[in-house]
Symmetry: C2
Subunit: 238 residues, 2 copies
């Protein structure tokens, strides 16, 4: 598969203009070999041009003049990674004067995606998945952007949203707890976790059980009545 170049250098750095770019932080979980705990991962794209040639950067590109912000985020994400999440949420606009050799305001989106959706996207040249807690030095201010997205993930996302965004349709409470442990980077007490989830009203127990080497564990599903993301009063999409 091919993709268009990120941040082509056709812009003259001496021209007194501001350009608008979009970038996306998209998180998934990946489980290592054996029983290793899942880790929060995100895709990065290796830059093939200056500035920061050779460095890893968030998927993204320039906003087209005839294209909305959401559409630009979806397009550039698909072109660089093949990923097409059902919903991208706007995270923040980054516009520090010195964040790039030319003046660039980046509208950053974020999303969660399930491991099976990642697998379906295939393999893209110059794109790799990284452990969010062990990143190299990225291009521009992208390390800072990822930190901000992780902070938002830790603080904002509720139980049901995690379940919907990162897990399969049905999952055990232990699997859900592992998601939380991966995001929060700490162990959670299983009994307390079970109590909190059951009190939240966001999960519905099914009649099915996961069987295996441990005792059977009940499968839960996400309560579809709970809204996945805060879209605002208008279901706003700009």
């Amino acid at each position: 598969m091919t993709r268009t170049s990120l941040f082509p250098v056709e812009a003259d750095p001496h021209v007194d203009t501001t350009r608008v770019a979009v970038s996306t932080v998209i998180f998934t979980l990946r489980r290592g070999a054996g029983s290793e705990a899942p880790r929060v991962m995100l895709p990065l794209v290796r830059r093939t041009r200056e500035p920061h040639e050779g460095r890893w950067a968030l998927p993204g590109g320039w906003l087209d003049v005839a294209e909305g912000l959401d559409a630009a985020a979806s397009r550039t994400l698909a072109e660089t990674t093949g990923l097409a999440p059902s919903y991208l949420e706007q995270l923040y606009a980054f516009g520090a004067v010195d964040r790039s050799p030319t003046r660039v305001v980046s509208i950053v989106y974020w999303a969660l995606i399930r491991p099976d959706e990642v697998a379906a996207a295939g393999v893209f040249e110059n794109t790799e998945w990284f452990d969010a807690s062990a990143l190299p030095r990225l291009a521009f201010d992208h390390n800072e952007i990822v930190e901000y997205a992780l902070w938002r993930l830790r603080n904002k996302v509720g139980y049901s949203r995690i379940a919907h965004g990162l897990l399969a349709d049905q999952f055990t409470l232990a699997e859900l707890r592992e998601v939380y442990e991966a995001i929060l980077k700490r162990r959670l007490d299983p009994a307390n976790f079970r109590r909190q989830v059951e009190n939240s009203g966001t999960l519905i127990p099914t009649d099915r059980f996961r069987t295996g080497s441990h005792r059977p564990a009940r499968l839960y599903r996400y309560n579809q009545d709970v809204e996945l993301a805060d879209r605002g009063p208008l279901g706003i999409r700009h």
Copy 2:
């Protein structure tokens, strides 16, 4: 006092470029005559040029190429309204293709400001305060932006933040409740409200009382240990 023009028409609408603007939604409370309940108000600026000449618009202007986003929001707000809140929080980037005759991405900020700060700013030509729930048809998509800001205000802001942003340093629980009633547009049960606030840990009772026509009411103050706003892990300001 003078101010620079908003959105000067020097941009050629036929040029294939995107420009970046900043706008600010800044809310305060204003009490009418007598015992009338306070209302959520915001300042608007009458446009003196096309497009939308004569319509009211949010305070704002173009991003300067050598200026950060926060700085641009503060500058344009001060130039058009004289207001200088201690903290502007980024709200959302609005970038629909058809929101302006030329392509404009607006980074919108929001803030709360106390009535005494409003009074200190003085009077600016072409600037008036409007009841947020009874706006005329505004320029561009600014009605939609205000709706989004009101939604954020209703959903996100906690007790202590309201107290800090809209009230004087010391206030009674009845005054605080009126703030909530103005924002939520509904009456709240006084006893329930008192219980919720006392349980929140965000207010500290003082030894002073407000006296007047009613029985003396204790004054409370904001707990300074509670962070005013979500600035992210880095106290991020771009």
